[in-house]
């Protein structure tokens, strides 16, 4: 009986992982923006500008 808590904990973890995996498989893949967006600015002049 002393083993029951650890067994239950292990079962809970397994169920949790299963649910997590199932949830993730249905979740849309959303690109993660981890970077601030910089903008390349190019200005074209002519000799007569």
């Amino acid at each position: 009986m002393n083993d029951m808590p650890s067994y239950n904990q292990a079962l809970s973890v397994l169920v949790g992982l299963f649910l997590l995996a199932a949830g993730c498989s249905d979740a849309p893949v959303v690109p993660v923006q981890e970077t601030s967006r910089n903008v390349l600015v190019e200005i074209v002049f002519t000799d007569s500008t």
Partner: protein
């Protein structure tokens, strides 16, 4: 120059690499400049023409440019860029680029381009104006160096350029990565002054 002054006032400094092309033949970085950067008197954001400067007075540039820049900045970016520079020898410079893919579509055909710019270029006889951020070298070319990046990857690339005819104390760079299929720019970086 007035256009750049207007842009500077918006205070995008480090997040906004600025490159100036003088056409048709003044300070060209490469012979391709005239063909690629046409029509003139145009503002390009991330390689797309967005503003014909002839339609606006210089005093309006800041406001008009600012609106377009805000739109461009609102697009997501999935790459982190960093760059360092050094002299290879008396006639060559090196830019070492570090690119980290935070989230990049698998199989994306990406290209790395470095535009070496020079400040304090004076156009003799043409308003005697002083121009900053003038394109002087395109490394390796406008087509860019093909790179392969997947999510989580960090890539180091070394690009070499000749410094003959350039003032090493006035050099900076604009570094960018773009998609080869639609030429869209994914990320850009301003190196205000190359360290030699």
């Amino acid at each position: 120059m007035r256009a750049l002054d207007s842009l500077s006032a918006v205070d995008y400094d480090s997040a906004m690499p600025v490159v100036v092309y003088m056409l048709p033949g003044r300070f060209n970085a490469t012979p391709e400049d005239s063909a690629r950067r046409s029509p003139p008197k145009t503002l390009y954001l991330d390689d797309s023409a967005v503003v014909n400067m002839e339609l606006h007075q210089p005093s309006e540039y800041g406001e008009v440019f600012s609106g377009n820049i805000e739109v461009a900045k609102s697009r997501p970016s999935f790459v982190t860029l960093a760059a360092e520079s050094t002299y290879a020898d008396t006639a060559d410079g090196i830019v070492v680029v570090r690119a980290t893919a935070d989230s990049v579509a698998s199989g994306a055909d990406l290209r790395l381009v470095v535009i070496v710019t020079e400040d304090s270029m004076v156009t003799q006889g043409f308003l005697n104006a002083r121009w900053d951020n003038v394109a002087r070298r395109v490394v390796p070319s406008y087509d860019g160096r093909p790179i392969t990046l997947a999510r989580g990857d960090t890539l180091y690339d070394t690009l070499r350029f000749t410094t003959i005819g350039l003032n090493p104390a006035q050099l900076g760079a604009a570094v960018y990565i773009r998609a080869a299929n639609d030429l869209s720019v994914l990320q850009a970086l301003s190196v205000r002054r190359l360290n030699y």
